[in-house]
């Protein structure tokens, strides 16, 4: 479904991604784990069109999307839930969700998806009139995910959904990621919380200072000595 082939991404002269390749197949949950500053967010931003790769290809379905405008990429079915949620704090929950469906014209479909989002996240329904800046961190994460789902994505990019949340909320969020995936959305999940991520993923990649250093099935990586040592805190 998504194939990243040997891309390089720079911030000025900082070389943030060095020849990164990775693949996501339809229906999978793929996780990308790595320490702070490894280049995880940079990769997602490049996939969603916020950054442009200097070279290499990004193929989505049959299209080349590397360097295309973000709105084109959203339209083709990729939604990105950014790190730190980035909800529109000056707008209500409902307005945030509406903006998620910004490019869609099918009123009926939008209404159905809104109901579906409210079913996934009953908290959002309760707070639909509330200014989203006043939501708790967990609720904002739910809103950011719901907002992305309103675009009816085929591929969902999640950037550290567990960041700064209590373990119980993290568990809920991961349950929902699994549910979204089982409803037919492919997921690329970026995490520092390797334990949780590997527990729901089919396959995984490990990134260190801009390079993919390991990849395999989630199970293989859970058992890899290197991953245990560096990312699983000796679990």
């Amino acid at each position: 479904m998504l194939k990243v082939n040997n891309i390089d991404v720079f911030y000025g002269n900082i070389h943030a991604l060095k020849g990164v390749s990775l693949e996501v197949n339809e229906g999978e949950i793929v996780t990308l784990i790595g320490a702070n500053g490894a280049g995880k967010s940079t990769l997602l931003k490049t996939l969603s069109g916020l950054l442009k790769p200097k070279n290499g290809e990004i193929t989505y379905q049959t299209k080349q999307i590397g360097g295309k405008q973000a709105q084109m990429i959203v339209k083709s079915g990729i939604s990105h839930v950014p790190e730190g949620r980035r909800v529109f704090a000056n707008m209500s929950v409902e307005e945030n969700l509406e903006l998620g469906a910004y490019l869609r014209k099918d009123r009926e479909g939008i209404k159905k998806d809104l109901e579906n989002v409210f079913e996934l996240f009953p908290r959002l329904y309760e707070r639909r009139k509330q200014q989203s800046g006043t939501l708790s961190g967990g609720e904002q994460q739910m809103l950011a995910m719901g907002r992305a789902l309103m675009a009816k994505p085929k591929l969902l990019l999640l950037d550290e959904p567990s960041m700064g949340l209590a373990p119980l909320i993290v568990k809920q969020i991961f349950e929902i990621i699994k549910m979204v995936n089982s409803q037919g959305t492919t997921v690329l999940l970026v995490e520092q919380n390797a334990n949780m991520a590997l527990s729901i993923a089919n396959r995984a990649y490990v990134i260190e200072t801009g390079k993919i250093v390991l990849s395999g099935t989630a199970k293989e990586l859970q058992e890899s000595e290197k991953v245990k040592e560096a990312y699983l805190g000796g679990v």
Partner: protein
């Protein structure tokens, strides 16, 4: 008492003009953090467009107003595309200098083509007086205040209820997050310039009708005052710009009415200094939820 009511109406009329200009300042600032110093000149262009349309085609107030709004919105978009777009991500001082350059360019282009001499505005509205609690209120004032309120309600509707308005609020809050929604940020910024410039154009025609005299440098002082009004209200805040405009208009009128008419212009700058010292965020700043 009657005297005061009359002065209040005058103040609110002047305030309407400031408020309409201030709205464009604040919307543009909200979305690209640029203080568009050419905005006062768009106001001047609006006044001249209304003027030439009225003398060429003998059209009335509302058609002149609409024509000025349409042409000014196009001019606003051109200014943004030609001068400001390439400066996204440049330093603020570079953008500010460019804005001043655009302002001078517009002023002296108009002077080049038609000279600097002032014009007497045609009587687009019949002057009559309405008796209100013994005060005689100019019908022009009433109409101007009404038109301004209609435009502000329309703006409120656009910003809160339409798709482009929601996109404007989203971009002004977080442009990258807006991109992730599929919002075309460039078009949204252009729409903001279009709307802000249309309001300035409307203010230009209203100014001409109300003060009956226009000239190519007429935008400088009202532009500056409207900027002060926007800062007073909290730059970036739409309700703030409206309130700031009215407050400034009323204060200036009162200062004149109590016999300090020479100090009228100074009043605005005293307000600016006070607000910068006492509450730099402005009346609606900081804890304001609405940013655009």
């Amino acid at each position: 008492m009657m005297e005061w009511l009359q002065q209040l109406v005058n103040g609110v009329s002047l305030g309407s003009i400031y408020a309409l200009i201030a709205l464009g300042y604040t919307m543009v600032y909200g979305i690209i953090k640029l203080i568009n110093f050419a905005h006062g000149d768009v106001f001047m262009l609006g006044a001249f467009i209304g003027f030439y349309a009225a003398i060429r085609w003998d059209i009335g107030f509302i058609p002149a107003l609409i024509l000025a709004m349409v042409i000014c919105s196009i001019i606003g978009v051109i200014i943004e595309r030609v001068a400001y777009k390439r400066l996204r991500g440049a330093t603020r001082i570079a953008a500010l200098i460019t804005a001043i350059g655009v302002s001078l360019f517009i002023e002296y282009t108009v002077i080049f083509f038609r000279g600097a001499k002032p014009e007497a505005y045609p009587e687009l509205l019949k002057e009559s007086y309405i008796d209100l609690f013994g005060a005689s209120i100019s019908s022009k004032s009433v109409l101007i205040i009404a038109v301004t309120i209609v435009l502000m309600l329309l703006l409120q509707f656009i910003v809160h209820k339409t798709k482009i308005g929601k996109a404007m609020r989203a971009v002004s809050h977080d442009a990258d997050a807006a991109r992730l929604m599929g919002i075309n940020v460039d078009n949204t910024i252009s729409a903001t310039f279009a709307i802000g410039s249309a309001l300035a154009g409307a203010a230009g025609v209203i100014f001409g009708v109300y003060y009956t005299r226009i000239d190519p440098l007429m935008g400088v002082l009202p532009g500056l005052k409207a900027f002060i009004a926007a800062v007073l209200g909290g730059i970036g805040s739409i309700p703030g710009a409206a309130v700031g405009g009215y407050v400034l208009g009323v204060v200036e009128t009162i200062v004149s009415a109590v016999g300090f008419s020479l100090w009228r212009d100074a009043a605005a700058f005293v307000i600016l200094i006070l607000i910068l010292i006492l509450r730099p965020a402005g009346i609606f700043g900081k804890n304001a939820r609405e940013k655009v």
